[in-house]
Amino acid sequence: MLYIPCPWCGPRDETEFRYGGEAGVAYPADPDAVDDAAWSEYLFVRSNPKGWFEERWVHTSGCRRWFTVRRHTVSYEIRDPRPIGEST
């Protein structure tokens, strides 16, 4: 089980969290101007690296806030927990 460091509550068991996938995927600034290919990319395509990955979690059983971590998808090591919008 992952041991996930919530920026507000500290490290807790994975079962207290829900996964949010890749971090930093912005809603298109002008959705009407986006063509089908770009809209498809926004809806369905996410990075899937074997290595370090910026991702989102939400502390559903705790403070219920979203945050960003950097996690290695092979070792599962987690670094740099931070509130959304803050850079490391």
Partner: protein, 411 residues
Amino acid sequence: MTTSYVEPYVLPEHDVPHWRDVDPKRSYDVVIVGAGGHGLATAYYLAKNHGITDVAVLDKGWLAGGNMARNTTIIRSNYLWDESAAIYEHALKLWEGLEEDLGYELLFSQRGVLNLAHNLGDVREGKRRVNANQLNGVDAQWLEPEDIKKLVPILDTSRDVRYPVHGGTFQPRAGIAKHDYVAWGFARAAYERGVQLIQHCEVTGVSVDGNRVTGVETTRGPIAAGKVALCAAGHTSVLGDMAGLRFPIQSHPLQALVSELLEQVLDTVVMSNAVHVYVSQAHKGELVLGAGIDSYNGYGQRGSIHVIEHQLSAALELFPIFARAHVLRTWAGIVDVCPDASPILGLTPIEELYVNGGWGTGGFKATPGAGWVYADTIANGRPHPLAEPYRIDRFRTGALIDEHGAAAVAH
């Protein structure tokens, strides 16, 4: 009776090798990346159906050591949507003649798959799926609780439990096979037709000239190829990145487990989406259990223990007698999940580069069908009719094949 060995104990002779390791040649007509079930089946059907034998199947590890060694071996075709029923039923028909075709025993056992319904929503979904299956020529039946109790006496069908059994769908032609034998059977048959199987040869780059693939870079040197066929399940995205292609795929750990060997108590496959577990009993006697994916992206071939706890508690809910069984081992594979829980099979934006991936949690059952269809697609440079709906551009056109809720969450 006990057996005592007289020292020195002599190891049994190895069987005749089914294939020989070779060093890769400098070029091939077709290079298949990934020597799992799908890759080996593709190579076999390229040789058998299309006469294309200048083929190498590369694997970064050993033959069939990825998901082919880690799945729970369930075979069925009772999918809701026409596109899915077509390709999985094609696969099931091939399974039914595969032992004869390969001349190899696969322990293919059509013991049926039972999908349980625990609430009104499940009942409606199940009956709808049975009707859809019958329209598509897939054998499917709706069973009432009393029929289910006869079929699986050890299942708790009493009414006062958390997940009462309100009925279920049953596909009698579904079943299991011995996954390793399937890989070895395809490997031997492909090898006998001239296909080269190259283990411990990791692809590190995809070579593209203009908009046409020319080969692959590997840990054992560059290999030129007229056609390159990606067939690497959980690593499809990693290979796509090498070619500058972003696939709508996320890789997740998927865990399974087996019990110690037990007397035969279960002679069909039981799946439950609401409770979220599926279980069968292997020929040797171990209970084989699987569940859903771990939530997070991962290539680590291991998952979190709470997922195992959850699936065991689900199993105990259905089968109270499993309480005394011991877990022998748990493991995980890496599954490649598409947003609509259906695979991507066909051409890519790069000429002569093909992709077969995104089978998620359910690729094993498709092995012969996927290999057949993929080989035809590669040989002819256009999607096989059964692969047509699985084009990558369905995510742009919106023609998704949404099997997430439709077929069964668990594959």
